[in-house]
Structures are given as C-alpha cells and as structure tokens.
C-alpha cells in the first residue's frame, strides 16, 4: 500500500479515480501514439467545472494531441473520455472547439459571418434556413470578440489576431458549456490576447468551463485557475496556486525549462 501512496503523491491529486459527473472533461488511461512512439501515455486528468484550465507542457509534449484525442479527432490506443459524465457522442452539443489557426486554409472562399455560422451547424442541420435569430446569434458572437464590423469580410483579408477572434466567435456561436481551445494566444497581438481573455473570463463568470492549451508560462497564473501539466505522461494537475510550482515545472520540462524561460525573458525584454 505504501507504494501506491508514494506514486499518488508524486503524480498530484489522484484521490478520486471514479469519473466525476460534474467534471466537464475527465480522461482516464489515455494513450495516443504516432507510430511506435507514445505521444501520450496512460494520461489521467480531471478538469473542474466553471473554471479556466490550462494545459501546459513543452513543445511536442502532447498538449494538442491531448485535446484532439479528448475530442475524438484522432484515435487513441487506449483510454476513456467522459464529458460531463457522458460519452463523447452524447455530449457533442455541449462542447465548443477552437482549433489552431494554422490548421485551415484561410484562402478558402468564404466570409467571416459564414465561418461563425458554422458554429450553428448542429442547430441548422442540412436544410434549415439561416433564420434571423441564427444570424443574430452569429452577429452577437462576432460583437463579443469585437469584430461586428467584419461580418462580410473575406476571411483571407484578416490578420492573424482577427482570424483567432473569428474562430473564437464561431465557438461562442455554438453556445456550449465546455470550451476547448488549442493555443488560442499563439502568434496573436496584445490587443487580441486581451480581447480573448476577456471573453473567456466572461464565459467563466457565467459558469461555463474553459480548457486551453497554453504555452506562455508567464501568464498561466494571471489567466487560469487550474493547470494540467503534461509531458507524454501526466505530470500533475490542480489549482494553479498549489500545482503550478517550480518543482512541478521542473518535472514537466526537465532541462528544457531554462531555455524556455530564457526565451520568455528575451521576448518580454524586447
């Protein structure tokens, strides 16, 4: 029994192993591999409801893979995913997803409002006409990210930050309970970062849950309540105050932490 306790202690809070029905996202034993190399190995994670959670880890640690596997976008070798205590298929309507900006071709022939309306797809189905209410919901989502004037703009004409806002607006249009974001702050300008974090905090204040892959260690404590550290294996999770410690970071990043911090210092100094 002593063995068990030591293990549990080194891997953070693992006291309640049963899937918590209140948790917006609970993952158990998730293993994903590209070829014969595990990208994630036997990862357990339970995210709290009504909070903002960050998924943190070095490059290539499987952060985006975790999100994609949790959404069922890529196949898992093993593991179980529960969303609000349900299976993925049953919970689709409650999840909104913001993929990485670079995952699509922005030269696609469509407009901003059309992209946002994609978030209403599950309500519209194949045939239902885009009603005034649907369009209003999409316009409202655009207004929340500060882009109401851009509705009819071709998406190729947007800046990187604006593209990110459009993706966020599309997720808002989904009117979900759980928002999964893949690197929402990657390569965006300071104004956009501010706008996005305001929107996310507003979501939280309405009781919704936000989980974001995040790469900037310097803003974790400022933006997030809960953190999940991952580097192929789960390296710790819990409230930022208790889980986001230098020891946990050293465990997660190994020798790479020094370089990462240096980079950040250089970035903020410049």
């Amino acid at each position: 029994m002593a063995e068990t306790l030591t293990l549990a202690a080194t891997h953070g809070a693992r006291t309640d192993r049963a899937a918590d029905p209140a948790s917006p996202l609970a993952v158990r034993g998730l293993t994903v591999s590209y070829g014969d190399k595990p990208a994630l190995f036997s990862v357990d994670a339970t995210f709290p409801a009504g909070a903002m959670s960050a998924i943190v880890g070095p490059n290539g640690a499987g952060k985006s893979t975790f999100l994609k596997a949790a959404l069922g976008l890529i196949p898992a070798v093993s593991g179980e995913v529960r969303v609000f205590g349900q299976g993925l298929a049953a919970a689709r309507d409650r999840i909104a997803y913001v993929p990485q900006r670079a995952s699509v071709d922005w030269d696609f022939p469509t407009t901003v409002i059309d992209v946002v309306l994609m978030g209403r797809y599950r309500r519209l189905g194949l045939f239902r006409r885009v009603s005034r209410a649907e369009r209003a919901a999409a316009t409202d989502a655009l207004a929340r990210v500060g882009m109401e004037g851009f509705a009819d703009r071709q998406i190729g004409q947007l800046s990187g930050g604006q593209q990110q806002r459009v993706f966020l607006a599309r997720a808002l249009a989904q009117e979900a309970d759980l928002y999964l974001l893949d690197e929402p702050f990657a390569g965006v300008d300071a104004a956009t970062e501010r706008a996005i974090i305001d929107v996310l905090k507003a979501l939280k204040s309405q009781g919704q849950s936000v989980i974001a892959v995040h790469h900037d260690l310097s803003t974790v404590a400022e933006y997030f309540d809960h953190v999940f550290l991952v580097n192929v294996r789960a390296m710790g999770e819990g409230p930022v105050a208790t889980a986001f410690t230098p020891e946990a970071l050293a465990r997660t990043y190994g020798g790479r932490l020094a370089a990462t911090q240096l980079d950040q210092l250089r970035l903020t100094g410049a």
Binding site: L73, Y97, W106, D107, F108, P109, G160
Partner: protein
C-alpha cells in the same frame, strides 16, 4: 439553325454540356480539398473497369460498363488511400502508382482479348464519341414535342441528364457539411460530422459523374471539366456559392463553344472535316482558365497560410 442543327448538333451539345456540368460540380470541392487529381486518377481507371466488365459479361451494354467503371474507380480510391496510409506515401505518388498500374492492366487485357467485333478501344476511351450521338429521327425543332422522335433520342442524353441532376441535388443537399468539412476538417469532426464518410462520398460522386460522362465524351473532357471550370471559377470570386455558379457557366461555355468550334471551325477555315469535339472542349476550357489566370479579379492568393 434548322433541322440539320437539331439532328446533328443539338444532342451532342446537350450531352457535352450536361457531362461538363456533372463533372464541374464535384470538381469545385475536389479543388478546394487539394484533390484535383483524383479526377485524373478516376478517369484513367475507367478503362480497365469497362474492359473487365466486357470480359465478364461479353457485351458492351451500358449498365455492366457503368458498373465496371464505377467499381474500378472505387477500387482505385481504396487502393490510393491504403497505399497512402499503410505505406506512408504522399498522395500524389500513391495516385500515380495506382492509376498507371490499373490503366496498364486495362490496356493489356484489351490487347489480349478479342474485342474486334465490338467498338472498344483505347482511343475511344480517351476521346469519346460525342460527334456520333446524333438524333437521326429529328426533323426539326418540332421534334422536341414529338413523342416518337423523342423516344429515339440517344440513350446517353437521359443518362447524363439524370447524373447531372443528381450532382446538382447532392451539391445542394450536402452543401453545409461539404463546405464545413472542406474548410475545417478538425472542427467538423468535433461537431460530430462523419468527415471521412463525407470525403469518400464526394470521391464516389465524382466517380459516378466521371463514369457517366466518360461513356459519352471520353476521358479527356472528364479530367478537363473536373479541374478547369472550377479552377477558373475560383479566380473569379471569393464566395463558394458564386464560385459554383461560375464553374457551371464555364463548363457550359466550354462545351458549347468547344463543340461548335470543332464542328464548324474547320469549315470556316476552309477545311472539309471536323476535328475532335472532346479535344476542342478541353482546349476551350483551358483557354478560359488561362484568361482567368491573367485577368480573374481574385486570381491572387490572399490568405495568410499558417500561423506565426
């Protein structure tokens, strides 16, 4: 524009136009998905498909030919996908391996079997026989309301009309999922859309269009119409719906203008015989694309490709 036109030109023009539209419609999505060459691959494997169908059934009846061609197209798509995934080969090379090997097999089978009594050869497969799809019973425009004459329309016409209508219907019905999964596959999957099934269905629809069009007009038009009208249309607009309309317009223009130039162009120039209509339709579609490349209002790339 009298009886001669109705008898000899009306049906080929209609068949050519409908075939062009049937191919151009799925072509719009294939181009946006960077799968333009699937059309190329499919039209090459149609030959082995019909040869095998002929060897099995011993006839050149339309239905077994179409089924054989469809099966070959499906087989090719499955093989390409399997080679790409299992062998970790880039899609272009996987395609190149599959369609050339199947085409070679088709040619070999054709040479080995006795097809001398039926009209089945490689050139026919490539170039089609649009010029021969005439309406002999027609005596003038009145024939369009004459049930007896109508019953003697070339069978290719109703067949391609049905397929063109099917392509139009599929485009309208599956517009939203097609657009969504083409633009952002990951998001579509997260919504629970059957993204892989949509992709496969698109390719199968393209194969159906290719097989039906091929029967009437040959492989060249099929490849050209999959790619040239949608590509030219892409350079005219930044709206997908408008792009699809442009592609239909360009397909129609290519077919009509191509057929007229092939049939009457040489006469105007003082030659006494027509040139290949299929070849001319492909050429006209290329000229249209060339003009769009030079003057299309939205010819330049604008999207920021990747993050940073």
């Amino acid at each position: 524009m009298g009886a001669d036109f109705v008898q000899f030109s009306l049906t080929p023009i209609l068949i050519g136009t409908l075939a062009a539209i049937a191919c151009a419609l799925p072509g719009n999505f294939l181009i946006l998905r960077r799968q333009a060459l699937i059309g190329d691959a499919i039209s090459h494997v149609v030959l082995p498909g019909i040869v095998v169908a002929f060897l099995v059934t011993g006839t050149v009846a339309a239905l077994p030919m179409l089924l054989g061609a469809g099966a070959a197209a499906l087989l090719a798509v499955v093989l390409i996908e399997a080679i790409r995934r299992l062998g970790r080969i880039e899609p272009g090379a996987a395609m190149g391996v599959v369609f050339t090997a199947l085409f070679a097999g088709g040619v070999l089978l054709l040479e080995q079997s006795d097809t001398s009594r039926v009209h089945l050869d490689v050139e026919h497969a490539l170039m089609g026989n649009l010029e021969t799809l005439i309406w002999l019973r027609a005596t003038g425009w009145d024939s369009l309301i004459d049930p007896v004459a109508l019953s003697h329309l070339p069978v290719e016409l109703p067949r391609i009309a049905v397929v063109a209508a099917l392509m139009a219907a599929l485009t309208v019905i599956f517009w939203r999922p097609l657009k969504l999964s083409t633009f952002d596959e990951g998001f579509a999957r997260a919504l629970g859309l059957p993204v892989s099934a949509i992709g496969l269905s698109l390719v199968i629809a393209a194969a159906v269009a290719a097989v039906a069009a091929f029967d009437a007009v040959g492989s060249i038009i099929v490849i050209a119409m999959f790619i040239c009208p949608p590509a030219a249309a892409r350079l005219m607009t930044n709206s997908l719906a408008v792009q699809v309309w442009w592609s239909v317009a360009f397909a129609t223009l290519s077919a009509v203008l191509g057929y007229v130039l092939a049939g009457y162009g040489p006469l105007w120039l003082g030659f006494d015989s027509a040139v290949s209509a299929a070849g001319m339709i492909a050429t006209v579609s290329g000229v249209i694309l060339g003009l769009a490349c030079l003057f299309g209002p939205h010819r330049a790339r604008v999207g920021v490709a990747a993050g940073g």
